[in-house]
Every structure is written in structure tokens, then in C-alpha cells.
């Protein structure tokens, strides 16, 4: 294992851990509105109370020490263990907003953690659907050429010419109104994924066209290897690098697709927090500078992008030991 792979795994693992343990790590319920604290800036944490020199506290008229493993809003840990313990918190009426609060007084830190669930799911599901589809159609059409290629390419063009956004607008109106927000979200991910393959497939096809004429593939054909064998043994391994790079590029773009949807108001409905919805709600330039902490999910997206990049790079190097 090389360093990039280790870093990538670590970063992604951290993000996934944040997502799964969001309820425990976050001091507040992500939907809870602390209405006396709209657009609260980051809570300053001071060190050293009267009792202990090292004790961290927050100040709200008086000192409120930062407590660990406090009892707060009930939740189900990992989805099934009923629990009320949160990693940290302060006693009311003080509040702790590590990353400030939004316009309704909701804790940005808690929402960013919870948002990781949705946004990482989008990336994962969309990749799992689009990459295999793209590989299948891309290699087939590049390898066989002729009418298979022709039909596949026109199909891709159709998908690219009717962008997912338009379909989502139409689809959202067609879904039943009372549908749970989670299901609405799932439907959107599927559309994003179903439209994500076309771009990738074209790139795979382009690379396959080149590979097919290379000596080792020609040699395999001359030797009478079956098509399936050529594709699986000769083409796919040579496409690994390409696919990894493209997957690392695609993952953030799927997460960002949700930002664009939220910008149009068609993202994940309230009260589910998602990075896209949070970013889109920052709104105009009037608030951008004043309430900059609402851009926190942007940093999270950046970390995810970096994690996917490191992972892809690391995997490439790892899968090809000939290269250091």
C-alpha cells in the first residue's frame, strides 16, 4: 500500500465515520431551530475556568463548561441502538455552534455531519450504477464497432441531449406528493446516475478504440481468443487507470449535481440536511461575505473530492506495481 492510498482511505474513512456516527458526533438535532440564535457566528471556545485551568468553556453571559458525553436529543445509533448520548455539548441557555448557525438557528456543524450521509450516498450509488454501465457499453461499442457502436453512440447522444436536470424537473412533478423525502432523494440519485453513464461510456469507448489496435490485443485476436476473454483479460485491465481517474472526477460532480438541483429548489426536501441544499441556501452575495460559515459544506465537498482523488491515484499505483 502506498502513501496516497493510505491517505485516501483514511480521509474517506473519516468522512464515512462522520456520516455513520453523525448523530453521536453532533451536539444537536440537525433540524432543531435555536430561534434566538439566527446566523450565530462560530462559538468561541475559551480555555480555563475557575475550577480547572484546562477546562474549555463557552461564554454566554457567564461561563458554561464544555461537557463530554452529554445527554441530549434522542437518536438511534447506527440506525438501531436507541441512545441519547452526544459526544459533547454545553448546558442551555448557552449553545455551542462549532461552525456557526444558519438563518433559522440550526447548527451548521451538525447539519454538515448529517449532510455527509446524503451526499456520500449520492456519490456512491451514482458511481455504482454509472461505472459498470459505462464500462459495459463503452467497451462493447469500442471493441465491436459497426452497428453496435453506432446504436450505442446515438443512444448516448440522446441521453446527453436530454440532460438529467430537465428530466428531474418533470419527474419531481410526477412523483406522488406525500412521498417521504428519503424516497424522493433516492429517485433523484437514480436519475443522476442513469444520466451519468453516457459521458463516461464515450470516454471508455474512445480509449477502447485505441487499445483494440494495439499489438497485444491484435495478437490475442490473431491467436483466436474469445471476445469475452479479450475484453476481460486485455481491455479492462488497461482501462483501470482511465476508469479510476474518471470515477474520481465523477464523484464530486454527482455531489455537485445535487447543489444545482437545490439551487433550483428541487434538491432534497427539508428537514433532511444535504451539502447541496445547505450551500444553495446561502443565497446571494448579500450574505456570502457576512455569514461565510454557511459555506462549511463546501469544505466538506472539497475533502471528499480530495479523498476520491487520492484513492484513485493510490489504487492506480497499487494495481500496477511496475510503477512506483
Amino acid at each position: 500500500m502506498n502513501r496516497k492510498l493510505r491517505c485516501g482511505l483514511l480521509l474517506l474513512g473519516l468522512l464515512v465515520a462522520c456520516a455513520t456516527l453523525a448523530d453521536f458526533l453532533s451536539p444537536y438535532d440537525p433540524a432543531e431551530q435555536h430561534r434566538e440564535f439566527p446566523f450565530a457566528p462560530l462559538t468561541a471556545i475559551h480555555i480555563g475556568t475557575a475550577e480547572s485551568f484546562w477546562r474549555p468553556f463557552v461564554f454566554n453571559g457567564q461561563q458554561y463548561p464544555l461537557r463530554f458525553f452529554v445527554t441530549g436529543a434522542p437518536y438511534r445509533l447506527l440506525g438501531f441502538i436507541p441512545c441519547r448520548t452526544h459526544l459533547f455539548g454545553v448546558q442551555e441557555p448557552a449553545r455551542i455552534f462549532l461552525l456557526g448557525s444558519d438563518g433559522l438557528g440550526r447548527d451548521v456543524f451538525s447539519r454538515t455531519l448529517y449532510g455527509a450521509r446524503l451526499s456520500l450516498t449520492i456519490a456512491a450509488v451514482a458511481l455504482l450504477v454509472s461505472i459498470p454501465l459505462a464500462l459495459l457499453i463503452g467497451t462493447l461499442s469500442g471493441f465491436y464497432g459497426g452497428w453496435i457502436d453506432f446504436i450505442c453512440m446515438r443512444l448516448m447522444e440522446l441521453f446527453l441531449a436530454l440532460p438529467a436536470l430537465y428530466l428531474i424537473i418533470a419527474l419531481r412533478s410526477a412523483l406522488p406528493l406525500g412521498l417521504e423525502p428519503e424516497k424522493v432523494f433516492l429517485a433523484m440519485v437514480m436519475v443522476i446516475a442513469l444520466f451519468g453513464w453516457a459521458n463516461l461510456a464515450r470516454i471508455v469507448r474512445g480509449a477502447t478504440l485505441g487499445l483494440r489496435e494495439r499489438e497485444f490485443v491484435q495478437a490475442a485476436i490473431a491467436l483466436g481468443a474469445s471476445d469475452a476473454r479479450i475484453i476481460v483479460r486485455h481491455l479492462l485491465p488497461n482501462l483501470t487507470g482511465l476508469i479510476l481517474t474518471q470515477a474520481a472526477l465523477a464523484a464530486p460532480s454527482y455531489i455537485l449535481a445535487e447543489v444545482s438541483l437545490s439551487y433550483l429548489g428541487l434538491g432534497v426536501p427539508e428537514p433532511l440536511p444535504s451539502w447541496g441544499g445547505m450551500l444553495a441556501s446561502v443565497g446571494g452575495v448579500g450574505q456570502l461575505g457576512t455569514y461565510w460559515w454557511n459555506l462549511a459544506p463546501g469544505a466538506a465537498i472539497f475533502m471528499t473530492t480530495l479523498a476520491f482523488y487520492l484513492l484513485a491515484e493510490g489504487l492506480r499505483e497499487w494495481s500496477d506495481p511496475a510503477r512506483k
Partner: protein, 569 residues
């Protein structure tokens, strides 16, 4: 690398060109001097034919280009003479006679006569044109009688209160230039955005100079405009009026901050803070006009009909709750309207309990029932109706069904998203679970107007005019926008029947004190019954550069430009 090199070259070329542009654009900014007003609009007009579109942009541009017989003074909310020098309503209230101004010319120099008014109404009443500006009174069109070259009479099928107000929306068309087109049956395609500017002829203070697709509309002074100021100077004062098309409000704000545009209306509540320093420097003036005519409301679907597939429009179990007056009142009590005003509108909104906003100053009835935020009151109302708490967080009805509903709102509207989140949190405290969903606005409107299969909706109503007649569509039980239960063949409840009756009576009552009393009672009923749960009316805030004089910002659109002929700098 060769290709990349070329690309770099091209790019450098572009940069060089652009930097040349930089130098020039400085002095190119204002060659025609300061006598011009630039304003950002979020969308362009759809047509220059004011009678063919009813959207805000087309109307506000149309009002600068076209003249009207009577205009409603946006500030006093009262009618005032424009192309009609005087008007008279017959004693029985069925006829309106207008004396037309003499010596008035269209922007191409052709004189204006009663023929033009008659032609305008011929087009307006033509079913084939189906103008959205057309009027009918109980299904019958207005009769127009041309008494002489400068006198015209409108006859209504029944006595009509405030009849003169409808003339505000009727732009007078030039018969000489549009009649041939109309005769050919091509009126619908006349005066589109592609029409050469000089062909667009009007009686307004400005005429069209140019339209640059998707970018801007430039108007310049109409030399034949009839109005003069009190010291006899020809109006308008401004040479040019420029509408820039900036779809995004951030861009609008930035342009205004940089001084590229001269007016910003309306200013979003969140953006007021960003403008404060400019105001302190004396560069701009910000005016908060108080509660606007936009009222945020939410309501439950009270339709008891069936869908095409035979299923009821609303789950019968839920319809029982929704129709229960105490349930609606309890919900109304549970909502923290101050939180909406403070969190959603940064304090620039006023809580509201009944149909009118206090900005509707001639008609507002302050003596109505109010619903202050009071959870205990809400809980006791629910208990009276047989609802009970199964647990701390779950309300059930008398039969033990958990109380939950889906609240629908229009997508892409940050304000409604926030309000719906506040409602959701407030009702959670009553043990009511609210599922939120947002639909793109056409889809939502079609749901509340046509398919009717939803549970609750959050939207706003806006008054077109400060007169009870403009609310008939919403208030009468057969109205299209009687959203909680639209287009009823006969009133479903006694109180709706009472409102119908009051609305009919006020329409035919000529005495305004009596009308005010009747309409006051309508507001009392709406407050008591809460078919709409009124939330808040946002304040109308406008901003203008310091040197613009004669501004009379008002709550009726166009907030700033309605008296564009008087503006000067």
C-alpha cells in the same frame, strides 16, 4: 504542444482586445450624460403589446410606453385623470362617461381620439384575441359607446362600484397603426419583441428605442407626450429609461452597489444590511414602505370531490380534521409568526391574521380576531375537538389516527422553504408531523387549480389593486383562486355563502363607506374561519440613488416607476 501554443495565442489576443475594451469602457459608460435611469429587471418583457400578456415585466414596461384613460395613483391608491380629463358615473352606477383630453398625440404624431379608445375595447372584447387584460362583468362584456370625437361611455350590465379603476389596466392602442393588422387577423403577432422599435406607437411618456434580445430594453423620451409639469415644462424629465435584464438578484444587488443601476426594487430583506454603508455615505436612499400587498399564507385542502379514478381528493380521515374550525384555529395559534418575521424576513415583515395587509390602507380592518403564538390555547382547542396526545410527540385524532399531513410549496423560493421549515418545527411541538415537499411552480399551480389532490399548500397572494373588486377571484366560492375549495357550484359552508353575499353587495354599492363596512365583515369572517392561515406580509423596501427626485415609491406595482414621467435627476 503546438496546438496548445496556438490556443494560448488566441487567448492572449482576446485578452489584449479586452484590455483595450477596459480603457474605452470607462469613458463609454455615460456619454449621454446623467439624464438617464438604469434599472435591473429579473426578466424581459414578453411582448410590447400590453394587452397580450399579463406578466409583471410586460406590464411595467407597457405602462411606460402606453397611455391610459385613468391611472391609479399608486401612492394615494386613488384614481386620477390621465387621457380622460374627467369621468362621471351615472346615478344608477351602470355607466361611466369619460371626457377625453384634446390635442394629445401618439408618439408618431397622430392625434388621439375616441376612435382609438373604441378600437382598443373592440380588441379587448374580441373573443378571438382572448386578451388576459379583458374584462367581463358577470360574463357580459362592457359596452362602449362613442359619444363624439372626445367623449366615450362605458356601459355595464349591472351597477359597478369603483368602475373607473379597471381603466388603469387598459393601454390605449393606436387605431391607425394596429387596425390593418387586426383586420388581417394577425393581431396576436403584432408588436412582438422582433418588431422594429419605430413601429411601436403609444401615448406614454417614453417610446421604444431599442430591444437587445435577452440583454436590455432602452426607452427614450416621447416628444409628443401630452403631460407638462406645473410650471409648463414638457415631461418626462428623463431622456432615457433603461431596463437591464439581470436574472439573478445577486447581480442586481452588485450592480446597484457599484452604481451601474439607479434603482433597486424590491430590495430583499437580507440585502438591506449590505446596502447600509452606502446609505450612510449618502449615496443611496433606502425606503421601507411597511407591509406590502404580498401575504404569505398556507391552507388546507377543503375539497370534498373525487379524482378521476374515483378516489377522494383528500383522504376523508384528514378532510375531517381540515374542515374542523378548531383544528385550523389551533394550527394558527401554534405558528410563531414573529419567528417567521424575524428569521425568514430579517425582521422586515409584519405578522398577519386576516385577509388584507395593513398596507391596503383604504380597506384594512384592524378589528379582527388574532392568533398569537400560544401552544396551550392550541392544545386546548385540539382537545375540545377530540384530538389527544398519544405521546409527547404524537398527536392522534379521536379515532387514534396520528395527525400528519404533507405541505407543498413552490420550489426555488428560499423564503417559502424557510417558512415551511418554521411551520414544520412549530407543528411538531403540537405533535403534528408535517412532510414538506416542493414542486416547481407550474406543477404546483396546476395541482392547486386543476388536479386538487394535495393536503396543504404554502404560497402567497398578491393584490392586483387596492380595491375589494380585485379579490373577487379569491373570495367568492366560485372563484378560480378560492384555493381552499375553488370553483364551487354553490357555497359549501354558511360562512362562504355569507362572504359571497357580502362581495356581491359591495360590488354594486356605490357608497364607499358602506363598501368598507361590507368588506370589513369579509375580513372578520376570514380571520375567524382561517380557511387561509395568514402568516406575514413582508415589507416592501426600495432603494434609489440619492440624486433621483420626485420618487413616490408605493405598494402597488410598479413600485418606483409608476410615475416615471415625473422622475428627474
Amino acid at each position: 504542444m503546438l496546438k496548445a501554443g496556438k490556443a494560448v495565442l488566441i487567448f492572449c489576443g482576446l485578452l489584449a482586445l479586452a484590455s483595450a475594451g477596459c480603457g474605452k469602457s470607462e469613458d463609454a459608460k455615460r456619454p449621454t450624460g446623467a439624464n438617464r435611469l438604469v434599472i435591473s429587471k429579473s426578466a424581459g418583457p414578453r411582448t410590447f403589446n400590453r394587452l397580450l400578456a399579463s406578466d409583471e415585466q410586460t406590464s411595467s414596461l407597457g405602462d411606460c410606453l402606453m397611455g391610459r384613460l385613468i391611472r391609479i395613483n399608486r401612492q394615494t391608491q386613488q384614481p386620477e385623470a390621465e387621457l380622460a380629463t374627467s369621468w362621471q358615473i351615472s346615478a344608477d352606477g351602470t355607466a361611466l362617461t369619460c371626457e377625453l383630453r384634446r390635442g394629445v398625440k401618439f408618439s408618431d404624431g397622430t392625434p388621439f381620439t375616441a376612435d382609438d379608445v373604441a378600437f382598443t375595447f373592440q380588441v379587448l372584447n374580441d373573443p378571438a384575441i382572448a386578451s388576459p387584460a379583458s374584462f367581463d362583468f358577470d360574463g357580459q362584456p362592457i359596452k362602449v359607446e362613442q359619444l363624439d370625437s372626445h367623449k366615450i361611455r362605458f356601459v355595464f350590465p349591472a351597477p359597478q362600484a369603483a368602475a373607473e379603476r379597471f381603466l388603469d389596466g387598459v393601454a390605449i392602442l393606436p387605431k391607425h397603426s394596429l387596425e390593418p393588422v387586426y383586420r388581417e387577423g394577425k393581431f396576436a403577432q403584432a408588436w412582438t419583441l422582433a418588431t422594429p422599435p419605430e413601429q411601436i406607437v403609444g401615448l406614454g411618456p417614453f417610446k421604444l428605442k431599442e430591444y437587445v434580445a435577452g440583454q436590455r430594453v432602452v426607452l427614450n423620451r416621447n416628444p409628443h407626450y401630452w403631460k407638462k409639469d406645473s410650471s409648463g415644462n414638457q415631461l418626462p424629465y428623463l431622456d432615457e429609461l433603461v431596463f437591464n435584464l439581470d436574472p439573478d438578484r445577486s447581480t442586481q444587488l452588485l450592480k446597484f452597489q457599484q452604481g451601474e443601476t439607479d434603482l433597486l426594487s424590491p430590495v430583499n430583506a437580507d440585502d438591506v444590511a449590505a446596502l447600509a454603508s452606502l446609505e450612510q455615505q449618502g449615496k443611496i436612499k433606502i425606503t421601507d414602505l411597511g407591509p406590502s400587498l404580498i401575504r404569505e399564507i398556507f391552507w388546507f385542502n377543503l375539497n370534498d370531490g373525487k379524482q378521476k379514478n374515483g378516489k377522494p381528493l383528500v383522504d376523508p380521515m384528514k378532510l375531517v380534521w381540515f374542515k374542523d374550525l378548531r383544528f385550523r384555529q389551533a394550527v394558527s395559534h401554534a405558528i410563531d409568526r414573529n419567528a417567521i418575521a424575524n428569521l425568514v424576513f430579517s425582521g422586515k415583515a409584519s405578522p398577519q391574521w386576516s385577509f388584507l395587509s395593513s398596507g391596503d390602507k383604504l380597506w384594512f380592518n384592524a378589528e379582527v380576531k388574532t392568533y398569537p403564538h400560544d401552544l396551550n390555547r392550541a392544545k386546548s382547542l385540539l382537545a375540545e375537538s377530540g384530538f389527544r396526545f398519544k405521546s409527547e410527540t404524537e398527536l392522534v385524532d379521536a379515532k387514534g389516527n396520528p395527525v400528519t399531513f404533507t405541505l407543498m410549496t413552490n420550489a426555488g423560493n428560499a423564503i417559502r422553504q424557510k417558512i415551511s421549515a418554521v411551520i414544520q418545527a412549530d407543528l411538531a411541538k403540537l405533535g403534528i408531523r408535517v412532510v414538506l415537499t416542493s414542486l416547481e411552480s407550474r406543477a404546483m399551480l396546476s395541482t392547486i387549480n386543476d388536479s386538487l389532490n394535495y393536503e396543504a399548500a404554502l404560497l402567497a397572494i398578491v393584490s392586483g389593486d387596492a380595491d375589494p373588486n380585485s379579490h373577487v377571484n379569491v373570495l367568492s366560492s366560485n372563484g378560480l383562486s378560492h384555493w381552499w375549495h375553488p370553483q364551487q357550484s354553490k357555497p359549501a359552508t354558511d360562512w362562504e355563502a355569507r362572504i359571497d353575499d357580502l362581495m356581491k353587495r359591495q360590488t354594486s354599492t356605490l357608497d364607499s363607506t358602506e363598501r368598507k363596512k361590507l368588506f370589513g365583515e369579509v375580513q372578520t369572517i376570514m380571520a375567524e374561519q382561517q380557511p387561509f392561515i395568514f402568516l406575514a406580509s413582508r415589507h416592501l423596501i426600495v432603494a434609489a440613488k440619492f440624486d433621483i427626485q420626485n420618487l413616490k415609491p408605493a405598494l402597488l406595482p410598479d413600485f418606483m416607476l409608476w410615475n416615471c414621467e415625473e422622475l428627474r435627476r
